[in-house]
């Protein structure tokens, strides 16, 4: 009889490889892996279901709904055009400000949807104004991931770790927010220095004058929908903050903070033609992928493999600064090549194990892991979902981009951001602010 830990490790590794190769839809890999674990009796159906973090999945579902409502209304295109107009459609200013816009939006809405819209709009502007879209779009991906690292709802790894360790919106904002901001400034500075000469030469005045006549309102397809979408998202942020500040008087699960506003919007305005079928348009594949992955990664915890990995890491690192370095750089380099969602799930269990072994502060480990995992994914086109979206889009449009070109534009800004994060994390530990 094969040992359960061998089955768990095999299924985990094969699933990771298949997810990384992207030949098979990752949803099928994750669900099939989960079913195999049940088949080989690593756990029963009931045990497997307990490993599925419904808080995370519920929260994501609500956020996806709200962001989709905004997307359907034309909000993202409107915002980008409004910003572009303010910049007089100057390509050099677009190079700096559009990634910053991605940073702000991704802090609250998740980087995937932000990049779906921003990469299309940036590419269209690049064709009209004749600038190279690659530095701008890669910059948007980098800053979107850095921005997403700054809040609870910005990136899936933060949602996973936040739900697991009961860390709220205000805590992520207070601890990761400032680091994310400073890291984004360093990345932007590098992007500017790398590309300023090339973009300063792009100056199609005629097209700029024509573009300035384009009203950003032309991008809004449904004004009432936009208003209600913004209200819904605002309510989510309000509930997230309220949950942290008033949890003694108003205890509320994380998932409710997005599900309540999302379904309130749908219930009150469900007869709106664009809202009737909206539930079928959200990214259900990601939700189901998460469910399967929770079970696959959970099998490592069930079979004791995570605890053994934690012991090995603890023996390797020994001291706190060593542990911080290992978690941060290990997370950053692994998420460059492996989707940061399964890495975040694995790190969640690892952090719990390390805390048990070393009594090291859990929150410090969470801030460290989340920043490393979120930002490290910038280095390759497959490291983070935002990168996958942008890279696939550029390839589909016939842009000459490959992994090497991506790396050329992402490496220095990402390293600048990672170094700033690392130094600030060490400082956080030194001054015991965690």
């Amino acid at each position: 009889m094969v040992k359960p830990e061998i089955i768990a490790l095999s299924v985990f590794l094969i699933s990771y490889i298949l997810i990384g190769l992207e030949r098979i839809p990752r949803l099928y890999t994750a669900i099939f892996g989960a079913l195999l674990l049940i088949f080989f009796r690593v756990f029963s159906f009931e045990e497997a279901a307990r490993y599925i973090d419904l808080e995370t999945i519920g929260f994501l579902f609500g956020i996806f709904l709200l962001v989709k409502v905004l997307a359907e209304s034309g909000f993202f295109n409107y915002l980008a055009l409004k910003v572009g107009q303010r910049l007089n459609y100057n390509p050099l200013k677009i190079l700096i400000v559009f990634p910053m816009l991605a940073w702000v939006l991704s802090s609250f809405m998740g980087s995937i949807t932000v990049l779906v819209f921003m990469s299309a709009l940036t590419y269209a502007l690049s064709k009209i104004l004749k600038f190279d879209p690659i530095p701008v779009i890669v910059g948007e991906v980098c800053l979107a991931n850095i921005g997403g690292a700054g809040t609870l709802m910005g990136d899936p790894p933060n949602i996973i770790l936040g739900a697991r360790f009961n860390l709220g919106f205000t805590q992520f904002l207070a601890h990761n927010g400032p680091i994310s901001f400073l890291a984004s400034l360093s990345a932007l500075l590098v992007i500017y220095l790398m590309n300023r000469k090339k973009f300063a030469r792009c100056n199609d005045t005629l097209k700029k004058e024509e573009l300035k006549k384009l009203s950003p309102e032309a991008a809004i397809t449904d004004k009432p929908l936009l208003k209600i979408g913004l209200w819904g998202l605002g309510a989510t942020v309000f509930l997230l903050v309220g949950r942290d500040l008033f949890h003694k008087f108003l205890p509320m699960e994380l998932a409710l903070t997005s599900l309540l506003p999302a379904f309130a919007v749908l219930t009150l305005r469900g007869r709106h033609p664009r809202l009737k079928d909206i539930i079928y348009k959200i990214d259900l594949e990601t939700i189901l992928f998460f469910a399967g992955l929770f079970v696959v990664v959970g099998s490592l915890e069930k079979t004791g493999l995570i605890q053994r990995a934690g012991q090995s890491l603890f023996n390797l690192a020994q001291r706190p600064y060593g542990l911080i370095s290992l978690i941060f750089w290990g997370g950053a380099s692994s998420s460059a090549f492996i989707d940061n969602v399964p890495m975040a799930m694995s790190f969640g269990y690892l952090i719990q194990s390390l805390h048990t072994l070393s009594n090291f502060n859990i929150r410090m480990l969470v801030w460290t892991a989340s920043l490393g995992l979120d930002i490290g994914g910038n280095l390759t086109p497959i490291g983070a979902s935002a990168g996958i979206v942008a890279y696939s889009f550029l390839r589909k449009e016939g842009v000459r981009i490959n992994w090497y070109v991506w790396f050329l534009y992402s490496f220095l800004p990402t390293m600048a951001a990672l170094i700033v994060c690392y130094l600030l994390l060490l400082l956080k530990y030194k001054i015991a602010f965690y």
């Binding site: 295109n77 055009l81 299309a120 709009l121 590419y123 269209a124 064709k127 009209i128 097209k207 024509e210 573009l211 384009l214 032309a218 991008a219 589909k396 449009e397 016939g398």
Partner: protein, 142 residues
């Protein structure tokens, strides 16, 4: 059913196709092989946007229609391509057809289901014998 259907072959020049569409009321034209059997169709709805823009640009402007007026440079480039393309470059191989014996109801349901404005009518040997659209169905009621 309209029995006067111009037939296209794989090597027919795109410029000839455009002239045929310009002079007819049809929105699709069947493509036949050497033996006259149906092998595909050319649809004006699909072909026209690609006359002015590349396939990628059409996809992009579907998402960002407010930018349409800014892509006029591409129009001049693509106009030159119409003399280089042939039917084989632009035809669809998946074709929805009905036979002469099929009912009007079937034709209506098929057009609605496939979001098509016309269907090719074929005989038992898979040869196109006509085209039917909503107007033809309406005419048959009077």
């Amino acid at each position: 059913m309209n029995k006067e259907v111009p037939l296209l072959h794989r090597n027919t020049a795109f410029s000839v196709v455009l002239k045929i569409f310009a002079g007819s009321v049809h929105s699709i034209l069947p493509v036949v092989d050497e033996k006259g059997r149906l092998m595909g169709l050319v649809s004006l709805k699909d072909v026209l946007p690609n006359l002015f823009l590349s396939r990628e640009e059409v996809g992009l402007l579907e998402k960002l229609p407010f930018f349409a007026d800014f892509f006029t440079d591409s129009v001049e480039t693509m106009q030159g391509l119409k003399n280089l393309l042939i039917v084989a470059d632009i035809m669809q191989e998946v074709v929805f057809t009905i036979t002469e014996e099929d009912s009007l109801i079937k034709a209506i349901v098929l057009m609605k289901e496939r979001d098509a404005h016309q269907l090719i009518v074929i005989d038992k040997e898979n040869r196109p014998v006509g085209l039917v659209n909503y107007n033809d169905i309406c005419r048959s009621l009077f």
